[in-house]
Symmetry: C2
């Protein structure tokens, strides 16, 4: 049986700007709990979990620590001071790992509707391929824009996927990918793009549209509705 133990990193230092809120998105409350807590709760039942790291801003360290203590009583689970950008927070977290877990899962704090089954399927694929991410087939036609704001091309939609999280990798693979990205000053919009760039394989695991990222005010309304109806 391969070692499937896994560190979970949930960067939670994001701002609330696109939601028009002063509170950072992960700390907006729905049904009496922060979005971050809803998200963490899903992972609390995953047996492979060996450690949890939540990089966040200084103001929210205390609050995050008390949630981690409650949800993961038997595990090393730390809130740490994050960076100014998402990738910096992940990098700091990668340098703070204490366990000798084989895998690392990075998950968006504001994707509370991921299901345990999806997390396990993603870990299964990461075990087989070294790296795997949840994703759904692109719903809209995607356009590539030129510098003049006109369409420069329309890639064939049947080959396109919208990346979600978790994104799960062998810990050593993600660490190497981050070192390489830092050296080459490459900043991707997800963790997989760094891994791809380092030459490693990333498997796509078909997820569900429910596992959306709370980005716009409309997403927050949807989340409130789903949580109000017991998901």
């Amino acid at each position: 049986m391969p070692d499937r133990s896994m560190v979970l990193i949930i960067p939670a230092a994001g701002s609330g700007s696109r939601l028009g809120s002063d509170i950072p998105k992960p700390f907006i409350e729905i049904g009496g709990k922060t979005i971050l807590e809803h998200t963490l709760s899903v992972f609390a039942g995953i047996p492979e979990l060996a450690e949890v790291i939540v990089p966040t801003s200084g103001d929210y360290l205390g609050k995050t620590r008390s949630v981690l203590d409650r949800l993961f009583p038997g595990l090393p689970a730390h809130a740490i001071e994050g960076g100014s950008e998402r990738y910096k927070s992940v990098q700091i977290a990668l340098n703070s790992v204490q366990s000798d877990a084989a895998f690392v899962a990075v998950h968006d704090a504001v994707r509370p509707f991921v299901r345990p089954k999806e997390i396990v399927q993603c870990l299964d694929a990461a075990t087989e391929f070294g790296g795997a991410i949840l994703a759904i087939r692109a719903k809209d036609t995607i356009k590539v824009s030129g510098s003049d704001g006109t369409v420069s091309s329309t890639p064939n939609r049947t080959t396109l996927w919208q990346a979600q999280t978790p994104q799960i990798f062998q810990l050593k693979i993600l660490r190497r990918a981050y070192r390489l990205a830092e050296k080459e000053r490459f900043a991707g919009t997800d963790d997989a793009s760094l891994v791809e760039r380092s030459g490693e394989i990333v498997k796509l695991v078909e997820g569900d549209a429910r596992n959306f990222k709370i980005t716009y005010p409309l997403d927050l309304k949807m989340a409130e509705w789903l949580i109000g109806n017991n998901k």
Copy 2:
């Protein structure tokens, strides 16, 4: 002053399969009105509108006609029998145009949350560039998959847009694009892709995430919520 008169084509022959419904999506009712009627209502206030054509399936022709008569009393507005695919329905509609409008707007029946202001901005751009579409910046990282289900590349997200509708073109440009696509047996996932392929310019007009396409059950819930709260 250029001629900005415009034919509106709303293909409404889609199935309800992805929503798990027997009723075709455009004819699902929200708040006592079909989604199609909600969508058509937005266009009813656009002064440039010269004609409306709704290709639909035989079973829904009567119902569609009565809605069109009510919403567009002073205009030629027809329900016609559509095709088995979206692009066939649009093609049939293009061959049924009776007015001598300069422009044609194609809009998804299941995007009821477009705003009049957005339609006008799109027509403004089409007047300037010949063709224009509403679109929003890609929210998720987009992955291109290889044939083995692993990621083959991650295009730079800052250049990617999610196409919406309406998509507005000079009528002669869209007709030519459809003729060319038929000759070359090319089927795109939106109308703009045919126009791009014919060598014409398509301008991207930044829209809003609210103008989403009702595709998944979750989208329908969102639509019910928005309409229940007077949008």
